[in-house]
């Protein structure tokens, strides 16, 4: 029954409905990419991200996995930049360039996971609140509003203090406190989607809540979720750095925020060892900016009325 509409399509004489759907999806991806390409800032962000991803993924090849080892540290503590150590050494005599590259793995990972968690919560809350109206939605949105005005850092610090120190805690603390924006966005989109006639039809044809939410609403909010995730990664990376700087992260893991915290504890700020302090901060800023640029470009391709990128 539901395949009828697909069959009626004129262009589907030879291809089955699945192939058709695939083709259509491919077309929309191509269209998306064509439009995305026109956003120069977004493109720059994408290139920067690709570079960082490459660096992070190839770290085991370029800098071996013993960069973080303290007993076999190659240099003297706090060496200034030289040919051997382009960014100098840290307080143990480890190569700071290697640490920076290795740190990207943790920072990116935490950023991705926390953003994924946050967006997952936000999407679930948003879709269900938009789909089931009434008291359930009211309560849910009340909670969302409450989280929205909470000072998130205060909440995240509190959470990170309560739980044992680990990367998981950091991911959780960021994810659990940062979802409300996504929830609001997704709910608004859900309401818009559900008012379209074909949803009515799907409901009339006996589509249950799950069917409507997963088959019709979710695909339609997906682009928005994608944009939101990209933006959320940027703020999650900043949040990770912040928590590490405040010392509530796992001190044994090399991350950019952790490097900054190390630099501060070693007194690099006042002793003029800029090479300890400056590169991790720039790395954080560049990656956060790159994700933001990508997110804004995606957003404006999907919804030109927002007037973001022009």
């Amino acid at each position: 029954m539901t395949t009828e509409t697909a069959k009626g399509d004129a262009g589907a004489r030879t291809a089955g409905p699945r192939a058709l759907a695939r083709q259509r999806r491919r077309q929309s991806v191509v269209r998306f990419w064509k439009q995305y390409r026109t956003h120069r800032a977004g493109l720059a962000g994408l290139i920067a991200l690709a570079l960082f991803a490459l660096l992070a993924l190839t770290a085991p090849l370029t800098f071996g996995s013993d960069v973080a080892g303290v007993t076999g540290a190659p240099g003297q503590p706090m060496e200034s930049p030289s040919a051997e150590f382009p960014l100098g050494t840290d307080r143990f005599g480890r190569d700071l360039l290697g640490l920076l590259v290795w740190g990207s793995r943790v920072s990116l990972l935490v950023g991705l996971l926390a953003a994924a968690l946050s967006v997952a919560i936000g999407t679930t809350v948003g879709i269900t609140a938009g789909h089931f109206k009434g008291a359930y939605a009211t309560v849910l949105m009340r909670i969302t509003d409450w989280f929205l005005v909470m000072p998130t850092l205060v909440l995240a610090i509190a959470l990170a203090t309560v739980l044992p120190r680990s990367l998981g805690t950091v991911v959780l603390a960021i994810g659990v406190t940062s979802w409300p924006t996504t929830a609001r966005l997704v709910r608004a989109q859900t309401l818009a989607v559900e008012s379209r006639p074909y949803i009515e039809r799907a409901k009339a044809l006996g589509g249950g809540h799950w069917h409507v939410m997963s088959r019709h609403v979710l695909p339609n909010v997906m682009p928005l979720v994608l944009a939101q995730t990209t933006l959320m990664i940027s703020s999650s990376i900043l949040a990770e750095a912040t928590l590490a700087f405040l010392g509530v992260s796992d001190p044994n893991v090399v991350s950019w925020g952790g490097l900054l915290q190390d630099a501060r504890e070693a007194g690099a700020v006042s002793s003029g060892n800029w090479w300890y302090l400056v590169p991790p901060g720039i790395a954080i800023a560049v990656v956060a900016l790159a994700f933001t640029l990508c997110g804004r470009a995606v957003e404006s391709v999907l919804n030109p009325r927002l007037g973001v990128g022009r």
Binding site: V149, P180, L238, L306
Partner: protein, 350 residues
């Protein structure tokens, strides 16, 4: 810190309650206001509950922490528990705490042996000075630059403006603060150390010299806060104005022969301003986060520093009190913004 991504859509969705009453009749407004105040009350209650239970989860015995590992007998420990009401069942502690919190009694700090409310009121003016100055500056700066950007959107100025805002927005505030200290406090190369490295006052000035002294200490922390926060306002103001610019009345205004500049200043900007200001209030939570970091880096004797210090002890009553205070402050400000909004926005009555 985390909630608000610098996207126009996010910013729009972040406005929880910018929906005014449909008609601006007195009763409607009252009902609307009551709804807002009621909602705020519920939120405050939720904060009260969270504050109590969240920090009860911190492992360890607060009394043993409080006595700092000094030798102490079981009887003395019990006496302390009685003194701080920790011997009561949890629910009784909770009702006790709620009752007291409503009368402004937030308990006694373990480490300072002073009422929490005293510690808060001691540090509050300092934080207000820092936050208030930064808040006004970044709001004004964001709106001015944002409207200019929107008016000539797509131009070089706009691109530079948004680019700079996004870049500063992506910089960790504590890192920026440390760099500013290195460059402008200590001095680097030809730049002399112009500003104090931390604190709020030298402690030896009086009268007008004191005001100048505090202003002198205020500059770097405020610059840091403004730099990382104004981008948000800029983007909101920009997109609000871009929305507004599509409106018919602006075309009419222009058709009347009004100068571009005037159209912007008299018509477009005021209309775009209200949602912007409201959203600025929504983002106060982020500013609180910024304040904690900036106060830590610049040794500013305010609430942020106090909170961090209380957490590391942990000084439960103080942590709890500050958590309540931060959350309540943001909720109250938001509610005020909600209440004032329909009175000011000419379109809400439409």
């Amino acid at each position: 810190m985390t909630a608000d991504a610098p996207s126009a859509a996010a910013v729009k969705a972040a406005a929880p309650a910018v929906r005014g009453p449909r008609a601006r009749t007195g009763t409607r407004y009252l009902r609307y206001g009551a709804g807002k105040v009621g909602g705020a009350a519920v939120s405050l209650l939720a904060v009260l509950v969270t504050g109590f239970f969240l920090f009860r989860l911190i492992p360890g015995d607060p009394v043993k922490t409080m006595t700092g590992g000094r030798p102490i007998s079981e009887e003395q420990l019990a006496a302390y528990r009685r003194e701080f009401g920790l011997d009561l069942p949890l629910w009784e502690q909770f009702t006790d705490y709620c009752g007291k919190a409503l009368t402004g009694d937030l308990g006694t700090s373990y480490q300072f042996r002073a009422p929490v409310i005293d510690k808060i009121s001691e540090a509050l003016p300092n934080t207000l000075l820092l936050t208030g100055t930064a808040f006004v500056l970044y709001t004004v700066l964001g709106i001015v630059l944002g409207t200019r950007s929107a008016w000539r959107h797509g131009g070089l100025g706009d691109r530079l403006n948004t680019g700079l805002a996004l870049t500063l927005y992506s910089i960790p505030s504590f890192w920026l603060g440390l760099l500013l200290i290195i460059v402008f406090s200590v001095g680097i190369g030809p730049i002399p150390g112009l500003f104090p490295t931390g604190g709020m006052e030298s402690g030896s000035e009086e009268g007008f010299a004191y005001v100048l002294d505090v202003a002198h200490h205020l500059i770097l922390p405020v610059v840091t806060l403004v730099a990382v926060e104004y981008g948000q306002t800029l983007l909101v103001a920009r997109s609000a104005l871009l929305d507004e610019m599509g409106s018919d009345y602006l075309t009419t205004a222009r058709a009347k022969g009004l100068r571009d500049d005037l159209v912007r200043r008299r018509h477009a900007v005021p209309n775009a301003l209200l949602p912007t200001v409201t959203l600025v209030f929504v983002n106060l939570g982020r500013t609180v986060a910024g304040v904690i970091l900036v106060e830590t880096v610049f040794s500013w004797p305010g609430l942020g520093g106090l909170f961090y210090q209380a957490l590391s002890v942990p000084d439960l009553p103080l942590v709890q009190g500050l958590f309540l205070f931060f959350a309540a402050a943001v909720i109250v400000m938001n509610t005020l913004a909600d209440l004032v909004y329909p009175l000011l926005d000419p379109r809400v009555g439409r």
